[in-house]
């Protein structure tokens, strides 16, 4: 279960997989299940496979929203090995080797996103992938994952994938397809008129197939790439700067000061997990002097911006100016002082530049977002060069994806060719251009002119609808393949389950078209790596290990050694820089932003990315980290801009609502637009070049004025049952291929109508309570005890003795001494914790609010999706929520400070919830867990009322979907599936704790037996620190969550608690609930010259 055990049965796992999927026996094993699936006995077993309880779908909207089942029978392949069902038992014909019935296993694989891979370990319960963990050995993961990887298991079972291979809607066989494509290719000798449209491709084996087989045989085939959410500005800019296209690799570990220009390094991009880890390693509270400093100038509030020590919001088109300004201050190759920019921006740039230059060479880093124009990348390259960072904090490698730099351009070319009739055949691989292509391209119309279009994709979506052929693609958990990470490291993608929805593999198609047609994907991949292995470059490798061994090891480890790209020696092209500078200075005058000079910026969405995840309930319901909006996108703007545009922020107005959410009799609050769940906001009509779109307005403090940010990926017309109907608005309609990231000259007019946003936290302020305790390095040096002191203020005017008690009492609580209670301590009598005392520390300094923990928890604990309507009623079910508070004056965007605070169940020792439960459905366990017993709960909801942290969640309706069978397969068999009317909450992943405990007990018992002596639990049955890893902890990229045994003095958590005791506090400690979950204060490292938070702590 824990990351430790993941690596316990290596070879065995591998063999079993190979068995399953390579030798015919294995195939037999899989297919037999399909046949099995037809028998009604099997259906019945499936019915019984998971708890069947009373209650049907109730809330119509939720029902519509939630995935319901189609084609169950096939979806159930691989299920029969699971826990025995209620009515019948269906044993295997032959147990797959190495599979211990009832035990889950982990397989290394990787998830490609926009071409780039993140290494994963997928947990399989008897052939059912149920959970994703990060692969510690993988450079882009380091054990963490992002929300997309977590949610990928849900995507795997998504019944909407079920479409089948069709031609004009009629079913066709794979062979028909191969024949038909072959015919198309042969129409002209060299395949002229055949176009191939793909997304970004980094897969070495696929590239090899394409370039060395396919394109060799058909040289006139045109291969076009399209990646809506990626920009080539970076690569092209650096190509200018260094003469050849390169990709930057940052080393945040050794950067003391970082300046980020509109680059959301901590939460976006193929390497963000790694960067977040590296960044947090430099924000350690144990070593305040070593803390780095982060300056962020950005065009919309990102997680990186929230963590910044100094952040200045600038319109996207001002960032360039700022870059030049800084370059000027750093005296980069004759950059003159650019005009314009506000006073404070200029000051900010000056101070930042001074800070950068004042530090040693190669100890700083300037990063810039790919969305920024090439010129900025050039100038930043120059700056980094000037600061001596190149080779130190930033190095460059050859682009990882092939044909770098043509992604953004080439689509236009294709459209032109389609319109001019040059295209006879178009094969679209996974991309969804009809939806994602720029509005100016009118891709759909052009597509209709192509006589024969093939579409291979996971979903039968907007594009498939107007294509002749639809070929169901296979999910990465279903198919063989390989992918490269941001730094070039390659990983072999191995399937954990046979394709559920007739999915096929593009590489098999290419193989089919090649001279050696019948190779399946696994063979193709293996073959490629064999050639790679035999290539002259790998002599060393060959001498050390035979291929089979090497290949298996590579699969098992999830990384192929020797594939990491080497840093390139680059030389800055002075003239290129000079040219850029000249161009900039001769460029247009700076025009201050105003309501007539609005800017719009487009960014991929943190839930649905470019739209490809638009049918994923987990992601849609995940509150976005800064806005806390679910199930929607919005036009994000600053308070000032909203007022100037005449958006009414008084949400009391009773306008017609689009959806039938009942009205709140209560008035809502300030510009936050209502509380918990329901937010009535005005909608605004954005129009640009005659195209317009209506979006709800969401005001975010700290957003640059006169700039509107919109997120891609919503308003899908054919996403599936979950993501199709009125889920957000499609901003691609506003986006042109010419300026895909930001555009000027947009008109914004309030519609006077209102829209209901499902927002899980729209109360922005902490109300002067010290829930998040935030301070500075300097402040801490002055007064190391400030955190505790704040606790005092927490109960500020509270009678002072009382508070002091509370204060100390908390510390004592650790040793279980004094108490505020008049009653004697239970803990001191028979309920003294004998062996374990589980606890959790959440580090607010490093938490980047990325929400990976939220989705991970949902995946691990079978947490249902409730749908927008229920969220608007304040009934979302997430066991861990990330609170977000703002500080500062909403009118002064640059003074803004924001804080993240993940809040799971605090596992109080004096739990208020337990005392009020009439049926003892929530009680304490022998190791101090606050157990929640679903099957005892009668649902009075008193516990939730009495929970000061409001972390309990209630099944107001039948949220868990018992109706759709395929959805059951994603459930974690170790966790009870809750029914209607039952309270639930974070359990510290008790299933993992108990599993580890059982293992430890067994270990100890056998040990004692071997040594022929009595068992001594304390000695023999120890659980290694780190053996139990909670789902949230496992995925956390910034390592902000530490879980462990407070009684084990050597555990990481115990040590941490001792080391930074002065930073350790618990929320609402004055209530004497004695939470087991405590927090480390948020410490920033502002530059004294800019520090606008005068006192020690904000």
């Amino acid at each position: 279960m824990s990351s430790m055990n993941m690596k316990e049965k290596p070879v065995m796992d591998l063999e079993s997989v190979l068995n399953k999927l390579e030798n015919s026996e294995g195939k037999q094993y899989w297919r037999s299940l399909d046949e099995l699936a037809q028998g009604e006995g099997f259906q019945e077993m499936i019915q019984r496979e998971f708890p069947r309880q009373a209650g049907e779908w109730t809330d119509p909207v939720t029902r519509r929203r939630f995935l319901t089942l189609m084609g169950a029978s096939l979806a159930l392949a691989g299920l029969s090995g699971c826990r025995p069902p209620g009515g019948k038992i269906f044993p295997n014909i032959k147990d797959p080797e190495g599979v211990v019935p009832g035990k889950s296993m982990f397989f290394a694989t990787a998830m490609p996103l926009a071409g780039y891979g993140t290494g994963l370990l997928a947990e399989s319960n008897q052939g059912r992938p149920t959970k994703i963990e990060g692969n510690i050995d993988h450079p882009a993961s380091l054990g963490a994952t992002d929300v997309f990887a977590q949610a990928s298991v849900l995507g795997l079972y998504d019944p909407d994938r079920e479409a089948g291979l069709t031609y004009l809607g009629k079913p066709r066989s794979w062979d028909d397809l191969v024949a038909s494509v072959g015919a198309e290719l042969k129409k002209s000798p060299k395949g002229k008129g055949f176009y191939l449209l793909t997304e970004t491709i980094t897969s070495p084996s696929l590239v090899h197939q394409l370039e060395n087989e396919f394109l060799k045989n058909y040289p006139d085939v045109v291969w076009v790439q399209h990646e809506p959410a990626a920009s080539d500005n970076g690569i092209n800019g650096l190509a200018k700067a260094f003469g050849s296209p390169v990709q930057p690799i940052y080393n945040l570990k050794s950067a003391d000061a970082i300046l980020s220009l509109d680059a959301d390094i901590l939460s976006r991009g193929p390497a963000h997990l790694r960067y977040a880890r590296e960044f947090s390693s430099r924000r350690s509270l144990e070593n305040l002097d070593g803390m780095n400093r982060l300056y962020v100038a950005e065009s919309t509030l990102t997680n990186t911006g929230v963590k910044a020590d100094h952040r200045i919001p600038l319109r996207s088109n001002e960032i360039e100016r700022l870059a030049f300004l800084i370059a000027f201050h750093l005296k980069v190759h004759g950059v003159a002082k650019p005009k314009g920019l506000s006073e404070e921006a200029q000051l900010w740039a000056k101070v930042a530049a001074e800070d950068l230059s004042s530090r040693g060479k190669g100890t700083t880093l300037v990063v810039v977002g790919d969305e920024q124009p090439e010129s900025v990348h050039v100038i930043v390259a120059a700056i980094n060069e000037k600061l001596g960072n190149i080779g130190k904090t930033v190095s460059f490698i050859d682009p990882v994806h092939v044909r770098a730099g043509e992604r953004s351009k080439s689509l236009r070319g294709l459209v032109d060719d389609m319109n001019s009739g040059k295209v006879n055949t178009l094969f679209i691989l996974s991309a969804n251009p009809v939806y994602t292509a720029g509005a100016d391209l009118k891709f759909a119309d052009a597509l209709k002119k192509v006589p024969q279009v093939y579409r291979m994709g996971i979903f039968h979506d907007e594009t498939s609808r107007i294509c002749h052929w639809h070929i169901p693609d296979s999910h990465f958990l279903e198919s063989w393949g390989d992918v490269r990470a941001f730094d070039g490291t390659a990983t072999i993608i191995q399937p954990l389950i046979a394709p559920l929805y007739f999915g096929h593999n593009f590489q098999e198609l290419l193989a089919g078209l090649s001279s050696r047609p019948n190779r399946d994907a696994s063979e193709v991949v293996k073959e490629f790596w064999k050639t790679w292995y035999e290539s002259p470059a790998q002599t060393a490798l060959r001498s050390s290990v035979p291929f089979e061994k090497f290949y298996r090891k590579s699969i098992h480890d999830g990384v192929i050694e020797g594939t990491k790209s080497l840093a390139k020696l680059v030389k800055l092209q002075i003239e290129a820089v000079a040219e850029v500078v000249k161009k900039f200075e001769s460029g247009p005058e700076w025009k201050e932003g105003s309501k007539d000079n609005l800017e719009i910026t487009f960014r991929p969405d943190e839930s649905v990315f470019d739209g490809r995840f638009a049918n994923n309930g987990w992601l849609l319901e995940m509150p976005k980290s800064t806005t806390k909006i679910t199930w929607d996108n919005a036009a994000i703007m600053s308070y000032k801009t909203a007022v100037e545009l005449g958006v009414s922020l008084n949400t009391e107005k009773r306008h017609e609502l689009e959806d039938g959410v009942y009205r709140s009799p209560a008035k809502s609050f300030g510009y936050t637009g209502g509380e918990h769940g329901r937010a009535y906001v005005d909608t605004i009509k954005l129009s640009i070049q005659g195209r317009d779109l209506v979006l709800p307005v969401w005001v975010v403090p700290g957003h640059p004025d006169n700039s509107i940010n919109v997120q891609l990926g919503y308003g899908r017309e054919r996403a599936g049952k979950v993501g199709t109907r009125d889920v957000g608005a499609d901003v691609y309609k506003l986006r042109t291929s010419s300026d895909p990231w930001s555009a000027l000259g947009i008109k914004a007019v309030p519609t006077g109508k209102q829209h209901v946003l499902a927002c899980t936290q729209s109360h922005h302020y902490m109300e002067g309570r010290h829930l998040v305790r935030s301070g500075t390095v300097a402040g801490t040096k002055e007064n190391p005890k400030w955190v505790e002191a704040m606790g005092g203020e927490g109960a500020e005017h509270d009678d002072h003795d009382h508070h002091d008690h509370a204060g100390h009492d908390h510390n004592h609580a650790e040793h279980g001494k004094t108490s505020l209670s008049l009653l004697p301590e239970v803990i001191s009598d028979k309920y003294a914790y004998k062996q374990h005392k589980w606890g959790m520390i959440i580090n607010l300094t490093t938490c980047t609010g990325c929400s990976a923990c939220v989705v991970a928890c949902q995946a691990e604990n079978n947490i249902p999706v409730v749908g927008k309507l229920e969220v608007t009623r304040g009934r979302e079910m997430h066991w861990i929520r990330i609170d977000r508070y703002f500080e500062g004056n909403p009118l002064k965007s640059n003074t803004l400070k924001a804080h993240y605070q993940p809040v799971p169940c605090q596992q109080c020792e004096n739990a208020p919830c337990e005392q009020v439960c009439p049926v003892a459905a929530t009680v304490h366990s022998y190791d101090g867990l606050n157990d929640m017993v679903y099957n005892r709960c009668v649902g009075t909801r008193y516990c939730s009322n009495n929970c000061p942290y409001k972390v309990r969640r209630f099944n107001f309706l039948q949220y868990t979907d018992y109706a759709s069978l395929s959805m059951k397969m994603v459930n974690n068999p170790d966790v009870t599936v809750r029914s209607r009317g039952v309270m639930e909450k974070c359990t510290y992943c008790v299933q993992r704790i108990r599993a580890a405990e059982i293992e430890a007990e067994k270990r100890g018992k056998l040990k004692a037996e071997r040594e022929g002596r009595d068992l001594d639990r304390a000695k023999d049955c120890q659980i290694k620190d780190g053996e139990i890893v909670t789902a949230c902890q496992a995925v956390c990229p910034s390592d902000a969550i530490v879980f462990g045994d407070l009684m084990d003095p050597n555990s990481r958590i115990a040590k941490l608690q001792k080391k930074v005791a002065n930073m350790n506090y618990s929320i609402l400690e004055e209530l004497n609930t004695r939470p087991r979950t405590t927090y480390l204060a948020e410490v920033r490292n502002p530059n004294p010259k800019l520090d606008n938070s005068k006192k020690g702590h904000a």
Binding site: G677, L771, G874, Q901, V919, K950, V982
Partner: protein
């Protein structure tokens, strides 16, 4: 035999007090007047009224059925506001009930003869109100079909209820309250059942009421034991009625929520209960005395007294609000303060708070005036407003939930159609039962009323006279 009188203490016996019976009445006419209601042909008005109530009762059944089918998600409750109309109405109904017990028990102990004519239907009101209240704790559960887990009995899980929970206390309090009130009401009825039996026009009624009366004959020793039991019950239900609403208030006071966690709750909940209870009694008494022409038994004096009680309890409640606000300020606990300011007074439900201050605090001050107290129309309206006020009070208290410790979790609550229909439905239940009661049971205690007549007095001089006579007789 002064000693004897003292040992029984207060009793059904009349004391020299202003007559609480108007008009010219003998034992006979009085019995006749009260029982005749039962024997009379069903009046059109009654049929109409009952029909309406019964219809509304169906709304309740519908709502409950749908609730069981769909789950409490059909209500407006959410996180953080886990309790809404359900508990508001529960507390409100229970509160209504209290006047009945108070009138029949406490006033009895205090020898208030004016209770006699109203205690019977006041007690009925108690029972019916508690019945309505009882629906909510069951219905508001997520899994009502497991409600029996709150009862202690040896089960196959070997589990027991969690006795530290106020909700568990409620189980004991409410069930005890209901059963004691029921018994109290019933033994009060026994002699009257006998009267009805003996005047019944036909055999069937004779049999029915004969069984209900258990064959009551009114022997001297029976009366003696009867009085004793009745008094003990009065003595027991007095602390009981206080404890019940105290325990209800514990549901809130025991929690740690700002706005709930207050020691003032028990007393001012009890006061509030009596307050609304009396209001409800007036709301019932006024139409009844009109409709059945019982002005002689429920006199203006009765209304006046009840109005006074309302005024008194009203002031206590008002004081309670004051203390709440003051404590919030004086405790210097930021959460309490914020709750008071950011939630109650100026929060989203501020309107309700001020409304309740008006309904319960200011408006009832008119009861200081004799003129108002003697004007049953105004009294009726005032009582209705008070009942609304008391409902608002509970609502405002429940709404403390929506903004407690963590601003991130602050939320709002708004009732749905089903919240409201359930509430209205309970009126259907209440009124239907009330109508049935008026129709088939003696709505005023006959036996006790008889005391209020001068003929009921034993002229003690006859005692001594009797002695001599008997001696004389013996000499014969």
């Amino acid at each position: 035999m002064a000693t004897e009188v003292s040992h029984t203490g207060p009793s059904l016996r009349p004391d020299p007090q202003p007559p609480m019976v108007g008009g010219k009445h003998s034992f006979d006419t009085m019995t006749d007047k009260i029982t005749s209601v039962i024997f009379a042909v069903t009046p059109k008005g009654w049929i109409f009224g009952f029909a309406i109530s019964f219809l509304v009762l169906q709304v309740l059944l519908m709502s409950i059925t749908y609730l069981l089918y769909e789950g409490i998600g059909i209500w407006g409750v959410n996180i953080p506001v886990g309790w809404g109309f359900d508990i508001v109405n529960f507390v409100w109904w229970i509160g209504i009930g209290h006047a009945g017990t108070l009138i029949s028990a406490i006033l009895l102990l205090f020898n208030q003869t004016w209770r006699t004519s109203i205690n019977r239907f006041a007690e009925a009101m108690t029972l019916f109100a508690v019945a309505c209240a009882g629906i909510y704790p069951l219905a508001h559960m997520g899994r009502p079909w497991f409600a029996f887990w709150l009862l202690p009995y040896p089960n196959t899980m070997q589990l027991w209820p969690q006795f530290r929970s106020p909700l568990e206390w409620d189980v004991f309090a409410v069930s005890t309250y209901f059963s004691v009130s029921l018994m109290y009401w019933y033994i009060g009825l026994i002699p009257d059942f006998a009267s009805v039996r003996d005047r019944a026009p036909n055999q069937l009624l004779r049999m029915i009421y004969g069984i209900l009366s258990l064959g009551w004959r009114g022997g001297s020793m029976h009366w003696h034991r009867y009085e004793t039991a009745y008094l003990m019950l009065a003595g027991l239900s007095t602390p009981l009625v206080l404890s019940v609403h105290t325990i209800i208030s514990f549901d809130f006071a025991v929690s740690n929520l700002p706005g709930w966690h207050a020691t003032i709750f028990p007393p001012y909940f009890v006061a509030g209960a009596v307050y609304s209870g009396f209001a409800m009694v007036i709301n019932l008494a006024v139409p009844i005395r009109h409709y059945y022409g019982m002005k002689d038994f429920i006199t203006d004096k009765h209304l006046d007294n009840m109005a006074k009680v309302m005024l008194a309890t009203g002031l206590m409640v008002f004081y309670g609000y004051g203390v709440e606000a003051f404590m919030a300020y004086y405790s210097a606990n930021e959460f309490e303060r914020d709750l008071m300011m950011k939630n109650r007074v100026f929060g989203p439900y501020g309107l309700f708070y001020f409304a309740l201050i008006f309904c319960n605090g200011l408006m009832p001050q008119v009861l200081w005036f004799q003129k108002v107290r003697s004007n049953e129309a105004i009294l009726f309206i005032v009582s209705i407003i008070v009942n609304i006020g008391m409902w608002l009070e509970r609502f405002v208290i429940l709404m403390s939930l929506q903004r407690d410790f963590m601003p991130s979790a602050w939320g709002q609550y708004s009732p749905t159609f089903w919240d409201i229909s359930t509430y209205i439905g309970t009126f259907g239940l209440f009124m239907s039962l009330m109508f049935l009661f008026c129709r088939v049971l003696p709505m005023i205690s006959i036996a006790e009323m008889k005391h209020l007549l001068p003929e009921a007095h034993v002229h003690s001089h006859n005692d001594s006279h009797g002695h001599t006579e008997s001696a004389h007789g013996g000499s014969h």
